[in-house]
Symmetry: C2
Subunit: 164 residues, 2 copies
């Protein structure tokens, strides 16, 4: 990520600016389990309604990436954070996901979480798996066939985890 | 389970009859991650609002157990069911959990699910782990310290899975 890219927290009112990224990524059906026809209102609610918090990575007024963190469980599991990240297809290879990951880990630490967990990392999304491993995550579980990949069919998903 | 125990689906209007079981079990903070002070309204909403479905195991007019099944994820993961089960402390050792497990697997099959996944099996809950294994589940993941056990502190949780 160049110095010109900034990451900041946003509210529900700004979420729509990332909708072209969000809708494009879920429509491909190869990395996220959201229904490919999820509505803007549903996505906004899931990513910006407390306790979820939402962040933009921007450059020159353009949204290049979006991420959310939230407690992975309510109650006696709410010391573990969960994160989700999306990068504009046009901004791949620029280190945006890596920068958002580090930013999210710091935000999670500051919020008092002691670990971060990803519940559904699609095993065929090797770029993501390698990236999370580079940022300290390990695969702690493999659920067979839990993701219906748009082109590959039933596909394993990984549960990934790291302490903060 | 004796022949006198019957399992049937219930609606939100009947959920309260299981509240003494539900509230007692979550108050102990050793098997469920729900906040120990979860309200009846919150519990009822999570266990009886579609797509969640809720079932009672009853004998002689008494509720001895309650379970719920629902899709484990929305969208491209909704072919995998999730189940949660509670047995009255007074009815332990009677095979109620086992009967509810078998019943839920059949209900999930009929509803078109192709697998069942448990996301948070507390590793110290050995009775449950052995029971699920007996019913065909395997441990597919171990998340370290993801459950704040009331007396044991941070405790590993298992992700368990079986095909239907």
């Amino acid at each position: 990520m160049t110095d010109a890219t900034a990451i900041r927290e946003i509210g529900a009112d700004e979420f729509e600016r990332a909708w072209s990224i969000f809708s494009t990524i879920i429509a491909s059906g190869d990395t996220y389990s959201y229904p490919p026809d999820l509505s803007l209102a549903q996505a906004r609610d899931m990513w910006t309604t407390a306790p979820a918090r939402c962040f933009f990575a921007e450059r020159g007024g353009d949204v290049l990436g979006i991420y959310t963190i939230r407690p992975n469980q309510i109650g006696l599991g709410d010391h573990v954070a969960n994160g989700s990240y999306m990068v504009s297809p046009e901004a791949r290879g620029m280190g945006i996901a890596s920068a958002m990951c580090e930013h999210s880990l710091e935000q999670a630490r500051r919020a008092g979480f002691t670990a971060m967990q990803f519940n559904i990392v699609v095993s065929t999304n090797r770029t993501a798996v390698r990236l999370w491993q580079k940022h300290g995550f390990t695969i702690v579980g493999t659920v067979p066939g839990a993701f219906r990949h748009a082109t590959l069919g039933p596909t394993d998903i990984y549960v990934m985890h790291r302490y903060l």
